[in-house]
């Protein structure tokens, strides 16, 4: 049977494998934290982790995810206490909030790869996540804050 492991839980896939992963997550699994933004991989609102990579679920077909691990914003931490989630609250990053699930999921990959990123690292990694409210300076501040929290946790 074809399955996808989403947030550490196995889900059977009994639908058209050409469907975008985003629709499966939202409409079939009920995980609506991941948002639909542009539908063409231009904005980053739909970023989830596929085997640890920050893929855009609006253009990633289910057939690519079968047999793999997917993590959504709901599964980033058990109690909403990932350093990024805490830092996002500390800095009060969101305005409308629509893009922030994608922002945080991208930032999580950045912090995993570069635990102490520079401003340039943050710009390079977050350049594909658009925020129409323009919260970029707070996003950068929160990523630095999360890096500190992550170090303290260790």
């Amino acid at each position: 049977m074809n399955t996808i492991r989403i947030n550490e839980k196995e889900y059977a896939v009994n639908i058209d494998k050409e469907m975008p992963l985003l629709w499966f997550l939202r409409d079939h699994v009920g995980l609506t934290g991941t948002k639909y933004g542009c539908g063409v991989a231009q904005c980053g609102a739909c970023v989830v982790h596929l085997d640890g990579e920050a893929v855009r679920s609006c253009v990633t077909k289910i057939k690519r995810a079968v047999g793999k691990r997917v993590t959504t914003i709901e599964g980033l931490s058990e109690h909403g206490d990932h350093p990024l989630q805490l830092a996002w609250k500390d800095v009060d990053v969101p305005q409308c909030g629509y893009c922030h699930a994608g922002q945080i999921m991208s930032a999580a990959v950045l912090l995993r790869e570069l635990p102490d990123p520079t401003d340039q690292d943050i710009d390079d990694a977050m350049t594909g996540n658009i925020c129409r409210c323009g919260t970029y300076s707070r996003i950068r501040k929160a990523i630095h804050r999360a890096a500190e929290l992550q170090k303290q946790k260790i």
């Binding site: 063409v40 920050a54 253009v59 690519r64 390079d124 350049t127 594909g128």
Partner: protein, 213 residues
């Protein structure tokens, strides 16, 4: 009359001078087509192909036009950001090449580009192994003259360590062939893949001559 005599005396000398001028002219023509022609020894060694600088250079003209088309050049930029569209603009979001040519951190090529074109206009094109050349061998097409590009293509230190056989096989590489199946709304290279392949192989097997500077 005196002048006529003098001219007559000069005539025997003119023949060798004229021949020399013709010879120099012919040498000029050949070198115009094959200036430093410099086909790489690594490429033609022991291949058994009969070289022909003129046919080689003529074939390369077609090859060059294809390699300078957006479908090829956009992923062979002079900088570390790929290009987009028929105007060769910098790729939206400015994704960076990365050491392996597959992007960095959250901005890996495959995070958006699938193994096939995404359906619809303005959607990410795709092919298995979508990538730029790696950082340690950028294989730049953008801004290269025909002479420079021809020399670069046959230099194993700049072409991904490819010998003649590997270069010929590269015409059928999946990412190369994607250029003729680029997805909705994208222009094709100026000639068909079959014509390109023929020109590519002709250029290589006739000596991989570089056009003049």
């Amino acid at each position: 009359m005196e002048l006529y005599q003098e001219n007559k005396k000069l005539r025997p000398r003119r023949i060798p001078i004229t021949l020399s001028v013709i010879a120099l002219f012919l040498i000029g023509i050949v070198s115009a087509f094959s200036d430093d022609v410099s086909h790489s020894a690594d490429v033609d060694a022991g291949t058994g192909f009969k070289e022909d600088s003129l046919k080689s250079v003529i074939a390369f003209k077609k090859v060059y036009e294809v390699l300078q088309s957006p479908r090829c050049m956009n992923c062979h930029p002079k900088g570390d950001i790929p290009l987009q569209g028929d105007q060769n603009k910098l790729h939206a979001m400015f994704p960076k090449r990365g050491a392996d040519g597959k992007g960095i951190l959250t901005m890996k090529c495959a995070n958006c580009h699938q193994t096939e074109n995404t359906v619809g206009l303005k959607t990410p094109p795709g092919s298995p192994e979508w990538h730029l050349p790696p950082a340690n061998m950028k294989m730049v097409f953008q801004g290269r003259s025909p002479h420079e590009l021809a020399k670069q293509l046959v230099d194993p230190k700049q072409n991904g360590n490819k010998d003649l056989k590997a270069l010929i096989a590269h015409a059928d590489d999946g990412l190369v062939k994607w250029g003729w199946n680029p997805g909705e709304g994208r222009t094709l290279p100026p000639i068909s893949h079959a014509e390109f392949k023929e020109a590519w192989i002709t250029w290589l097997t006739k000596g991989a001559y570089a056009p003049g500077k």
